[in-house]
């Protein structure tokens, strides 16, 4: 095909369209006349000649169409006209168009937002080269709890085994740091040499920690590699930072290197700001050699994680025997040999946020996808409604020679335009929906910094989704359009009847049903949150401050709790505003679910489990826990007298103690010094910090009887402004030596912050449920409005023959209510059937709670009535004269 002439024609067809059209018209008219002349010359009468001539040509307009199809640039030209036509159509019905665009924006925007969050939580990879090639080796005890691995084993893994290169990693604790006079808090990780090589990262300034800096068997060099973030924070990006001094916790260190921006270790949530060799700035004790929480490494080519696990499993006993025992004994005393090792992919890094929220998040994403389905359904029904109204127009177009393909294509263009507008609107909506999420999820760790803003990949998916929706939604009415009869129906009174109308009704009912289900879920979750917050924690919460103490480096060496704490408490009580102070090991910062088997000594286990806490003698009194029977700890309970415990009410009941438990002997877990405890008292139930578990089975041991005691929680009665008191507590503890205050909170705030997951679920589901209902109402409103527009003549007639406007209005509202009612009925039944799915997230509320269902149903019904108000008013205000005149 010769290119140049085609381009010329293309250009001409585009720019000089009118001329081309006119020329075609002239040509074909002329041809017709010639043909007519021919026939007249052959003897036919003029009108006959014309008729036959037209028949031979096949009609002027259809012929024109066929010639047009042959023109170059046909598709673009046709598309251009379709777009113009579609735009005109969209402009002419603003209510429908805005309803459609809004629907799409809501559906796509919500989906984009939720998908962004899920992406950030579950899919995002670490900012290192080949993140999927990074693996981590961890060991787990039989309860599945992760345990530490002695660091010296890392040398062995570098010599033999499935790793090309391995390094030990122990990170995630935050410390106070200071440099250039600027104090800050930073999260630190302790790594062996080669860690940066394993991760695939090189410092941009200085060098990385090498094997020489981290000998493991002896103390490491006091050097640190800092993150780009910390570099700017403390050194203002000074390029001469290498060798400068930085104080970490109580040690002085020098800066060895600065890492590239964007890289912050394997902790996806918080990032690590300081990398240091083990046993350097935080010295290890001689009884406690450095341990790693994971061993990071890259596997040898061709080795799968399963093979690696098996290999290390085989090497494990020999390795442990070699390495110097270096772990702290946990309360069970199980040794490492019994642990299971596992090699897991580390591409996404460690993320506590992910672990906490992944399940809730997937449910939310599921709901949001449902919302998009709803939006599509909504849009489909709106388009169908319009189609029914346009059947006359379509009939005429088909009669004039339009092809089904043309009509279908034009409707698709309209759908695509609407969804394009909706998608564009959806983007800022998505950003807005994502904005409050970090605040909701923030667990308050130092340096927590997850970004949920939609990244380009998510936005691209959004755009595609928007387009797909547009195309998909137009296929529904197109199916109906193509079934259109060619016969032109010029009836002047068309009420919305027929198959299209049935589909519309069905879709609307489905919409209402789905939104009812989602709303019920949202209400259940919200009530659940409310219940949790109303739970009686069993302790006094007002005016109570909870401080958590951690040891400074070397602080525990030679520590004597009996000599250390009483003077500290005296000093603290001297602070103005401070009342009584109690000590506890666990309360109120309960972490995890460490329960152990308990039973009476000499009896069969009843299957009861409990958790342990070590508390000072005045703990119950200060915390407001009531003694129910027996006694509490006294000064008579010493290290030499028999070990006594106080148990909670719930444990007493769980032990099936028909009679008195006072005086009976209890066995807790399997540790030797906890197998013969005398129960001296029972106290009322109290939480250990988790409101979802306000009545745990608790065994309280006396701190004064413990062999060693450190890192306590302090429960402090305060009066007045807590801020200066908190500052004074920090100062006093630090000055007293050995320990520092790592966290200090008011107890009521601490407890309230606990059910974060429930709060997030409730808020997000309420948001989505609300959106769903909004969509359904837009749908109902749209359909009713269009119905009124279509039936203007009918309404005009009714008003003219004496109907009262109120009756007409009432009719419209009734139609809306009936639709809503059916939808609500279906929705309530569906929600009832699906209630089980939500059960694990609920607390204190039954999944089939009748109050919730009833309230939601009533609410949606009321909205359904409301949705009909505006169309009803429009119906009532129809002027019969005008309506009947328009034809």
């Amino acid at each position: 095909m010769p290119l140049l002439p085609r381009l010329r024609s293309f250009w001409r067809n585009l720019i000089h369209r009118d001329q081309v059209e006119r020329a075609l018209d002239d040509e074909l008219q002329a041809t017709l006349e010639l043909l007519v002349d021919e026939k007249i010359a052959a003897g036919a009468p003029p009108w006959e000649a014309r008729r036959v001539a037209l028949m031979e040509l096949g009609g002027i307009e259809p012929l024109k169409e066929r010639v047009r199809d042959a023109w170059t640039g046909r598709l673009l030209d046709a598309l251009g006209r379709d777009v113009k036509y579609a735009l005109r159509h969209i402009r002419r019905s603003p209510t429908f168009s805005s309803a459609a665009i809004l629907t799409l924006a809501l559906g796509i925007g919500a989906n984009t937002a939720m998908f962004s969050v899920l992406d950030a939580l579950a899919f995002r990879r670490l900012a290192i080269p080949d993140p999927d090639g990074l693996f981590s080796l961890s060991s787990y005890n039989e309860l599945g709890i992760k345990r530490y691995i002695p660091m010296p084993l890392v040398f062995d893994f570098n010599r033999e085994g499935p790793f090309v290169e391995a390094c030990g990693y122990n990170g995630g604790v935050n410390f106070a740091v200071e440099a250039n006079g600027i104090p800050a808090r930073a999260v630190a990780a302790f790594v062996t040499g080669r860690c940066f090589s394993v991760l695939g990262v090189q410092p941009v300034l200085g060098r990385a920690i090498g094997d020489a800096d981290a000998p493991i068997m002896t103390a490491g060099a006091k050097v640190v590699v800092i993150s780009d973030r910390l570099w700017h924070q403390l050194f203002a990006g000074d390029t001469k930072v290498i060798g400068k001094s930085i104080k970490v916790d109580a040690s002085d260190a020098t800066v060895l290197g600065v890492l590239p921006s964007g890289f912050r270790g394997i902790h996806a949530d918080t990032g690590i700001d300081i990398f240091a060799p083990p046993d350097s700035i935080i010295p290890a004790s001689s009884e406690r050699r450095p341990v790693a929480s994971e061993v990071l490494g890259r596997l040898k080519p061709g080795v799968t994680p399963e093979q690696a696990t098996a290999q290390i499993d085989a090497m494990w006993p020999a390795l442990l025997v070699e390495a110097r025992a270096a772990t702290r004994h946990d309360t069970q005393g199980a040794n490492l040999l019994g642990d299971a090792v596992r090699v897991d992919p580390m591409g996404r890094g460690l993320s506590e946020t992910r672990e906490r929220y992944a399940r809730a998040m997937s449910i939310i994403v599921g709901l949001t996808a449902l919302l998009l389905v709803l939006a599509c359904v909504n849009l489909g029904s709106l388009l169908l409604t319009r189609l029914a109204a346009r059947s006359t127009e379509l009939g005429v177009r088909l009669a004039l020679g339009g092809s089904h393909m043309r009509i279908a294509r034009q409707m698709m263009v309209e759908g695509v335009l609407l969804s394009a507008a909706g998608t564009i609107l959806a983007v800022p909506l998505a950003f807005a929906l994502v904005a409050p999420v970090p605040a909701l999820l923030d667990p308050g760790f130092i340096g927590w910094e997850l970004s949920f803003t939609p990244n380009p990949r998510v936005l691209a998916v959004t755009a595609l989704a928007g387009l797909a929706v547009g195309v998909l939604m137009t296929t529904v009415p197109i199916v109906f359009a193509l079934r259109q009869q060619v016969g032109v129906t010029f009836t002047w009174d068309r009420t919305t009847t027929g198959a299209a109308s049935r589909w519309v009704r069905g879709l609307l009912v489905a919409q209402v049903a789905i939104s009812v289900v989602m709303l019920i879920g949202a209400v259940l979750l919200t009530r659940s949150l409310y219940v949790i917050q109303q739970v009686d924690p069993g302790v006094r919460t007002r005016g109570m401050m909870a401080a958590h103490l951690l040891a400074v480096p070397g602080g525990l060496r030679g520590m004597n709790a009996d000599a250390h704490y009483p003077p500290l408490l005296e000093k603290l009580q001297a602070i103005p505003g401070v009342g009584r102070i109690a000590l506890a090991r666990v309360f109120p910062r309960r972490l995890g679910n460490n329960t152990f088997e308990v039973g009476f000594v000499g009896e069969e286990a009843t299957g009861a489990r409990a958790t342990l806490d070590g508390v000072s003698a005045n703990f119950f009194e200060v915390a407001g826990i009531r003694p129910l029977s027996g006694r509490l700890f006294t000064s008579a309970d010493t290290r030499t007298s028999p070990r006594v415990v106080v148990i909670s009410e719930s444990l007493a009941r769980a032990l099936n103690a028909d009679a008195n438990v006072i005086g009976r002997r209890l066995r807790y877990g399997t540790l030797q010094d906890l197998e013969n405890l005398t129960i001296v008292g029972v106290v009322s139930n109290a939480t250990q910090g988790d409101l979802r578990n306000a009545s745990p089975n608790l065994v309280y041991a006396a701190v004064q009887q413990a062999a060693s005691f450190s890192n306590p929680n302090m429960l402090i009665e305060v009066r007045g402004d807590p801020a200066p008191i908190a500052a004074a507590v920090r100062r006093t503890v630090l000055e007293h030596g050995r320990e520092y205050v790592s966290d200090i909170d008011m107890l009521d705030e601490l407890l309230a912050a606990g059910p974060a997951r429930e709060r997030v679920s409730a808020m997000l589901s309420a948001l989505i449920g609300g959106l769903a209902v909004l969509l359904a109402m837009i749908g109902i409103h749209g359909v009713l409005a269009y119905s009124v527009t279509r039936r203007r003549k009918e309404i005009g007639v009714r008003l003219a023959v004496g109907a009262v406007p109120v009756q007409v209005a009432a009719g419209v509202i009734r139609e809306g209510i009936i639709l809503t009612l059916v939808g609500v009925a279906v929705g309530v039944s569906a929600a009832f059937a699906a209630a089980g799915a939500l059960r694990s997230l609920l607390f204190g509320v039954s999944a089939s709670d009748p109050l919730t269902y009833g309230l939601t149903a009533t609410f949606v019904l009321a909205l359904g009535a409301l949705a009909g108000v505006m169309p009803a008013r429009k119906a009532a205000s129809v002027d019969p004269v005008i309506a009947l005149r328009a034809d």
Partner: protein, 108 residues
Amino acid sequence: MSSRSNILQGTLDMLILKALAPGELHGLGVSRRVEQITRGTFRAQPGSLFPALHRLEEQGFLASTWQASENNRRAKFYTLTKAGRRQLDDVTAQWNRIALAIGHALET
């Protein structure tokens, strides 16, 4: 929107070019001439003829002018361009080759 197969379309194009070889004609005239030169075997329907004429013109094989027809009506006349003549030679040669080959095939 051509519903003809490519072979038929190519054949029609060739006949149109051939019909215009002696001199210019308007659309109807081309139709008559094609009927004539194929001894009535081919009747170019207006529905395929006019699109073909326009297509050939766009491809640069035909040129058009507005002139007076035999009964003094204004009509659009088509004529072969130089490229059109070359194209006619090419497709004629091609057609002959095909006819020969098919002829051989049918003989055996």
